[in-house]
Amino acid sequence: MAEKTYEERFAEFEAYIARGEKIEPGDWMPEEYRSELIRMMSQHAHSEIVGQLPEGNWIPYAPGFRRKLTLIAKVQDEAGHGQLLYRAAETLGKSREDMIEELLTGKAKYANVFNYPTPTWADVGIIGWLVDTSAVVNQTMLAQGSYGPYARAMKRICYEEAFHIKQGYDSIVALANGTPEQRAMVQDAINRWWYPTLMMSGPPSKLSEHTERSMRWRIKTKTNEQVRQEFVDLIVPQIRALGFDVPDPNCKYNEQTGHYDYTEPDWEELKRVVNGDGPCNKERLEVRRRAHEEGRWVREALAISKHKRAA
């Protein structure tokens, strides 16, 4: 059997994806496909790991035993999602060790939204309801992507995120039916999380060859704007149905487009926060590093017990 040329393999790869088939770990793939996916998947994994922290802070203070159990379960899910994604990214040839190291040394990026503080209990509900709705819109899109291990992980993750959204919404409804102070607390949280949540879907996609290629290779199946618009269309009626305001005077339903108009977030802020200069970046990484150090003895004990058993 004659060796195929790069051009032949490349054409086969593109034809595969065009037919709607999945790429699997053993398959030939262009280096750009591999590196773009490693970048996306490792950032996604880091976001899940760091995403435990803003809500995790509230576990000791959750109002009531049921909410506490629910919150622990949710935070555990985020840890599980991180593990699933590291594993999926590893199938492209980068080790979990390397990815974790990049996170701990501050080299890696992760979702902007987890660098904002959670000063009130309403923030926890808003993360579940708003932030996770945005995440699910994005992840439902990614579940249609061409890389098998990533798409499979997304399906499972979306299932669990449905629980995250519902528990967040449930706790917000409880506050919405509460005192004027509790309602004010929810409105304040919506005001603070609105723009960071809009930023999650990423800056406006440049009409570049790069974007065009990502779409053609189904690394993404929608543009950042499409994902953001889908989120806005979903969430605005929900916010208003509970009698809260969207903190954007321009946010109106547009009869012509059939979508909600909204004001673009401050993209300079996104750049700053993703590059390490958000309100909580330093704290988040310090907590991760401490957790890694404090867990070392457990990992070492497990490794030793393995050697003893093998001996």
Binding site: M1, E24, E90, T91, I100, R156, E300
Partner: protein, 111 residues
């Protein structure tokens, strides 16, 4: 090379990083009688811990009656590039029940 073993490195216990354990592929059986289905992989230092990790990762919510774990490195897999391996070199419809007529629902006239 097993899908799960791509990018696999030996565990190391020195230096800052020490979590690159081996991976184990996880097979999940929802109910007795069902097939065990591959659901993903976990990192673990040994098979017993792999079962614990697999339970926490893949069986912490919905029903599960049994889990299998197997070292990713122990899986032998076909090569996607080797299309000849599964090639149907000639018509194999003679193996296919759908290629044959079903018996007619006979009428029992008693003779």
């Amino acid at each position: 090379m097993g899908a799960g073993s791509v990018g696999h490195k030996q565990a190391q216990t020195s230096g800052m990083m020490d979590t690159q354990w081996e991976t184990y592929e996880v097979f999940h059986q929802t109910r007795r009688g069902d097939a065990h289905v591959h659901v993903g992989a976990v990192h673990a230092p040994d098979p017993q811990m792999a079962l614990q990790m697999a339970r926490d990762q893949f069986a912490r919510r919905l029903k599960c009656s049994s889990l299998w774990v197997v070292r990713s490195a122990d899986i032998t897999m076909t090569d996607y590039q080797d299309e000849a391996f599964f090639a149907q070199v000639f018509d194999k419809s003679y193996r296919d029940p759908k290629a044959f007529e079903s018996p007619e629902k006979g009428k029992d006239d008693g003779c």
